[in-house]
């Protein structure tokens, strides 16, 4: 036994010695740390950010998005023409684009990839992003014709998202169900090297790639190997960056950001145009929260500045509107200001009198409703703080937190009165259409907001070819929705990319919450 123990100890010490400083990592590879992995890397099957951040590097889209997250730039399409009625888009592709296996990319590949996204058999949860497609066809090897049934003003922006990544038909058909699991063939700056689920995904530089979007200084990738490594624990991830076991991460806990800013050897890159908002939504067909007076009082009961500071450790901006002012077509309407005394008066004036247990009552109805939220740290703290705010004006909110296992299916039910949700978006129209169109009841329109005028304004905005017409429709819609107090905006999360001294050129992008985007300007320090 003693001998065996000595041998084991010696082996472990040898391992430790062998590891040495910097722990034996490959110094030529850039290690990006994140908290979770994706279930697959097929652009039409996965909606996870973890999938998108790798797909942005492995693939390209017809258009790209500038750093302001508003301006659409060329991608694989170097230019496009739009018909006067906005029904036909003709994309002119770059010449000389190749897949990772060396095969030239043609318009047939583009048409195949986009048709695959919208095909009913694919059951893609994001097919709607491609708009009301009539046909997508290849006119010649470098021209794609995108024909719509109705005008869709957001098409070019939607085509910059990773869901519309152009893939190799041969790879899709060869790998079948394993496409994006065992392999991938795209035209992006980095190529699939290997994936160990829940551990790491390795990418290699795409030799010959020089067609990066014009938003970067360099159209060519600068790094030979990129390792996307999963470290689920926040603290381990933070220490890994500090101890040279990782180079870049956008997944740092809120509480650590101020400390990171003061830590030598670590650098923060922010993105002021980032849009990832937290909201509390009301299911207006339920008792109590169906009363506009209650919703207005709840709106007035919340100190949004304090919320951003306390819950998000200052890593969120207070939100006074439904839509981030940086987003296209956002209008500063302003929800009701923090005024708990005013909220109490409003409730009293409308017959909601304080009961003996501190909860208001009207016609035998207690001012009480149930909130569904996720049991993650942010939702949990938000729920508790909001519960306290609401209690101060005499309204009871019963909090029911759900594990991610159950949460999304529970949010598809009619059981709750309110819910908390965080979501990324890039324009007012995208967010409002997704969450307030009556076609999307019961989910993602979890408010059950069924309003013909809303649907009409959304349709007008969607079909508008003239930006002024779209903005006018969306302005009226934002005013109407804000007046109806369907949401309480809770905070706008900030995006930070944290990097070590080993890497230069890190910049936070933030399209669909993806920090590094294509990472073309990143390079390892000499």
């Amino acid at each position: 036994m003693t001998r065996a123990f000595t041998l084991v100890l010696a082996a472990l010490m040898l391992g430790a010695w062998g590891a040495g400083p910097a722990c034996g990592r490959d110094r030529g590879a850039l290690v990006i740390l994140r908290g979770s992995d994706s279930d697959n890397y097929d652009p039409v099957r996965s909606t996870a950010r973890a999938s998108g951040e790798v797909l942005e590097m492995m693939g390209d889209t017809l258009t790209s998005m500038d750093w302001d997250l508003k301006t659409v730039r060329p991608g694989l399409a170097q230019s496009w023409d739009v018909s006067p009625g906005g029904l036909t888009y003709v994309f002119h592709l770059r010449a000389g684009v190749r897949f990772c296996d060396g095969r030239p990319m043609t318009a047939e590949d583009v048409a195949y990839s986009l048709n695959r996204l919208v095909a009913p058999a694919t059951h893609s949860p994001v097919a709607w992003r491609a708009g009301p497609v009539e046909t997508i066809t290849a006119s010649d090897p470098l021209t794609v014709r995108y024909q719509l049934k109705r005008p869709y003003g957001e098409l070019l922006a939607q085509l910059s998202l990773f869901f519309t990544t152009i893939v190799d038909r041969h790879a899709v058909e060869t790998l079948g169900r394993d496409f994006g699991v065992r392999g991938f063939n795209g035209t992006g700056p980095y190529c699939w090297g290997g994936w160990q689920p829940r551990q790491e995904l390795v990418l290699h530089r795409h030799r010959g790639y020089d067609w990066g979007p014009p938003v970067y200084h360099s159209p060519v990738p600068q790094i030979d190997t990129i390792v996307w490594r999963v470290i689920p624990d926040d603290t381990s991830r933070l220490i890994a960056l500090q101890s040279d076991q990782g180079d870049v991460s956008q997944y740092m806990p809120y509480y650590a950001i101020d400390g990171i800013a003061r830590t030598s050897g670590l650098h923060l890159a922010g993105q002021p145009a980032y849009r990832f908002d937290y909201i509390l939504g009301f299911k207006i067909t339920k008792p109590v929260v169906g009363d506009p007076v209650i919703r207005r009082a709840l709106q007035m009961a919340v100190d949004r500045k304090a919320l951003a500071s306390a819950v998000f450790f200052g890593q969120a901006d207070a939100a006074d509107d439904y839509i981030n002012p940086n987003a296209p077509d956002a209008v500063p309407v302003g929800v009701a200001a923090y005024d708990p005394e005013g909220a109490r008066r409003l409730l009293e004036a409308h017959g909601w009198v304080l009961g003996p247990d501190g909860v208001r009552v009207r016609d035998g109805q207690r001012a009480s409703f149930t909130l569904y939220a996720f049991s993650d740290p942010t939702d949990t703290i938000l729920s508790e703080v909001l519960q306290a705010y609401f209690h101060k004006v005499g309204i009871e909110m019963v909090v029911q937190l759900w594990d991610a296992t159950i949460g999304w299916s529970k949010l598809g039910t009619q059981e709750f009165g309110a819910f908390i949700m965080g979501y990324p978006y890039f324009s007012a129209h995208e967010a409002l259409n997704l969450f307030f169109s009556s076609h999307n009841i019961p989910t993602p329109n979890r408010m059950n907001w069924r309003d013909p005028e809303t649907d009409r304004l959304l349709a007008d905005a969607s079909a508008a070819v003239d930006p002024a017409v779209r903005r006018d429709a969306l302005t009226r819609l934002q005013e109407k929705l804000t007046q109806s107090d369907l949401w309480i905006p809770l905070g706008r999360e900030k995006l930070w990319e944290v990097s070590s001294d080993r890497v230069q050129g890190v910049r936070a992008h933030g399209l669909y919450g993806i920090g590094l985007y294509k990472g073309l300007d990143m390079r390892l320090s000499p």
């Binding site: 472990l12 590891a19 722990c23 169900r177 689920p232 040279d244 991610a404 296992t405």
Partner: protein
């Protein structure tokens, strides 16, 4: 009867034809008993995953999917079939040795489990290889020097090891070994243990997991050795003039092994599936993390497969412990 005589008798018993038949019967009985247990695990595991009010289709579709898309996915994933039919299909698949495919990434469950079981076994073995000998040595030494300063220090260490949460030990190990000394990696498995990177990456998680096990094994070893030291055969050994160290190691510890083996055996099952905190802190791609991920993403076939493997590990370890006790304790064989 002295300890030496007992073992001589036991050896004679092992070689006798009657004892051989008894042992075979006992082994056959224990193996037969595991079958209904595993079947029970299958049924309970399947039903448990069905009663959880989760919807894998909603998870896969994501937060922005419409109700129609979720419904279509539910149909495609076979979730609309009746419960008995799903169970029957599951059993038919199992009979063919097929654990099905993941609802989330469509990968074969057996492949995914195969990927996770290796790292789990590696971590468990490394943990046992350092912690059990150390714990047994410390526990025996504490019993040998009972009521001394060493005894008290070892008892305090064991209580501390058993009381400190595993995540705290893990973070401390990362802080010292990874950050302060920058000596050892802690960001996942570097490869198989026979490679330099693999061995280095194994050190901190194995230390963390083993440290938690250490406390319990030290305590039980000390108690068992102390019990054995007060028994008749040990008194006889002392009367024969053997040294106290020899009595402790050769007579007391040998008899004390039975409860130690039982405890370590039970811990093995836990180490395969229950080392979730260690696996998360060190990003170790083991069974615990796989099972938790499967459950939190409503991946029913994957969760059922993981439950089955973890349960089988428990059952088989218990079987091995029972058989080992058969060798260690002649009384069981009678």
């Amino acid at each position: 009867m002295t300890g030496r005589a007992r073992f001589r008798n036991a050896a004679a018993f092992r070689t006798s034809p009657r004892a051989g038949t008894c042992m075979k019967r006992y082994v056959a009985y224990r193996v037969a008993v595991t079958m209904p247990v595993l079947l029970g695990v299958l049924v309970v595991g399947f039903l448990l995953m069905q009663v959880v009010p989760s919807d894998p289709a909603a998870v896969r579709a994501g937060p922005q999917a419409s109700a129609e898309v979720v419904a279509a996915l539910r149909e495609e994933m076979g979730l609309n079939r009746a419960l008995p039919m799903r169970f029957a299909l599951y059993l038919r698949q199992l009979a063919r040795g097929d654990l099905g495919r993941s609802l989330i990434n469509d990968a074969p469950v057996a492949t995914e489990l195969g990927r996770a079981i290796g790292p789990s076994m590696e971590l468990m073995t490394a943990c046992l290889l350092w912690s059990v000998p150390v714990a047994v040595a410390l526990g025996t030494f504490a019993a040998y020097r009972r009521n001394s300063v060493f005894d008290r220090a070892i008892v305090m260490l064991s209580i501390g090891a058993a009381s400190v949460p595993v995540f705290f030990v893990g973070l401390l190990a990362i802080w010292i070994g990874g950050f302060w000394w920058q000596l050892l990696p802690f960001t996942g498995r570097g490869g198989p243990f026979w490679t330099r990177a693999g061995l280095a990456s194994l050190v901190l998680p194995a230390f963390t997991l083993g440290f938690v096990l250490l406390g319990a094994v030290v305590r039980i070893t000390r108690t068992a050795v102390l019990d054995a030291l007060s028994s008749d055969h040990v008194r006889t050994a002392r009367a024969k003039g053997l040294s106290e160290w020899s009595v402790t190691l050769r007579h007391a510890l040998r008899n004390a092994l039975i409860p130690i083996v039982t405890l370590v055996g039970l811990q093995i099952g836990y180490l395969i599936g229950g080392a979730v905190a260690t696996e998360i802190i060190f990003s170790w791609p083991g069974m615990g993390r796989l099972a938790v991920n499967a459950i939190t993403s409503s991946d029913l076939p994957m969760a059922q497969g993981a439950i089955l493997v973890i349960a089988a590990a428990f059952v088989l370890t218990n079987l091995a412990v029972d058989l080992l006790q058969l060798l260690l304790d002649p009384r069981i064989r009678r």
